[in-house]
């Protein structure tokens, strides 16, 4: 989808960022859940995808999400030392550092790609992280790089 058509389908300000959030089942998803049951307000721009562990995230998911039209991606897992599978998040940390740098290097705006640690008890933190992510994506506007264009059809 191009910037133009997006603007047309957007909200009052013309466009609202869309965020894909990959959350680990044991910590961050529970954190998001807690934010919900605690009635902590956070922006509704996020589509949550629950995964067993941040180590499960194939970094290509991030690229795919952006290519698929998401304006930003958040990956969140357990704090170091808290991984349900002991070290999944620590392997993941290396992978994410490299992917974030590579994407920035080839010119995908770094404002779109975020990683965070959120525990099951950190509902507030989850809302804060997400708010920050959305602000950051808002700064760079709708994603246009990596998006496939289609000609007009019947």
């Amino acid at each position: 989808m191009t910037q133009k058509t997006k603007a047309k389908t957007g909200g009052a300000n013309g466009w609202e960022p869309r965020i894909a959030a990959f959350l680990c089942n044991w910590c961050s998803y529970a954190g998001a859940d807690l934010a919900g049951v605690s009635r902590i307000q956070y922006p509704p721009n996020v589509r949550v995808i629950r995964v067993p562990c941040s180590g499960r995230i194939n970094p290509l998911f991030i690229v795919k999400a952006i290519q698929g039209g998401m304006d930003g991606v958040l990956v969140s897992g357990c704090h170091p030392g808290d991984c349900h599978y002991i070290s999944g998040n620590l392997y993941a940390r290396r992978k994410f550092a490299l992917m974030k740098n590579l994407l920035e290097y080839v010119g995908i705006e770094p404002e779109r790609v975020h990683f965070s640690w959120v525990s099951a008890a950190e509902g507030v933190r989850f809302a804060e992280v997400l708010t920050k992510v959305i602000e950051s994506v808002r700064e760079v506007g709708p994603a246009t790089r990596m998006i496939k264009e289609f000609e007009a059809v019947p």
Binding site: V106, V129, M146
Partner: protein, 331 residues
Amino acid sequence: MSELQGILRREVAKLLEEGTVDLFVGYVDADLPLKTSVRFLRSPEEAEALVWNASCTSNPAALLPPLFRRPEGLRGEWTPPRVGILAKGCVSRSVVGLINARQVPRDSLYILGIGCDGVIDRHRVMQRLGVAELAEASVEDGNVTVRATDGTAQTLELVEALYAGCRVCRHHAAVIADATIGGEPAPSDDETRYADVEAFSERSSEERWMAFMEEISRCVRCYACREACPNCYCNECFADETAPKWIGVTTDPADLAFFHIGRAYHQAGRCVDCGACVAACPQGIDLRLLNQKVNQDVAVLFGGEASVSLEEPEPLCQFAMEDDQGFMTEP
């Protein structure tokens, strides 16, 4: 060089003669300027064809994994072949990577290490000399000489003609070997290892995106880079998967970008900067610009270097509690 070539031929003939290996993979002359062919030898007589020179650009380690896969449909006993490989520094590292990844068995390999002074990058020769073709070219006395259609000749110092990775190579000699021939050229202390990456990084995000897309827009999706790379041994590449379908098969810019980000990323902690992908690309895409970024990050962030030892796990197969996490988003 020719003396070393003689030793190489004798050594390999002996290996085949004595049955130390069933097969030996090395380089033979190709009928084209500044090119060699990879050849698998079976008999001692064939060793006479082996060459060793600055045009030995391919990384024959890429051809090893299929040799150790049991032939499809075969029943009963099967013994993998014993394979000898001529290994300059980078090739030996690729072999280490393959052994570490359980793609080739150490026991079935005979690694004949050879000291390497670097190999020629044909595209670079063309660019540096401003010539459109390498119809006639040769290496003499430390110079690459290219003759044009009108008979005029141009020369370039061999060191200037080398693949960028060779000019900053730290592993001219094999990191593991069953035997070694040739000298051991000193490792480069060149600090410009990541110069291209740093120069590229200094440009704006927009400029980098444009430059990246411009560079890869030449891609024809032939996958020569992938197939020429010893690291790309996956049974099914993400680029070929249909469920999930990561990318289309077209040359749409979005497909090309995804492929090249994915390819470079999958080199993380594994690329040995051998230049095989760069030499293989029929379109002259500067794949090193991407590979080296990942290599630099692995070196800087994790202090690691891919495939230098059979004992040390590869950089992405380990972690440290204190790994950098400055990139993470804090509220």
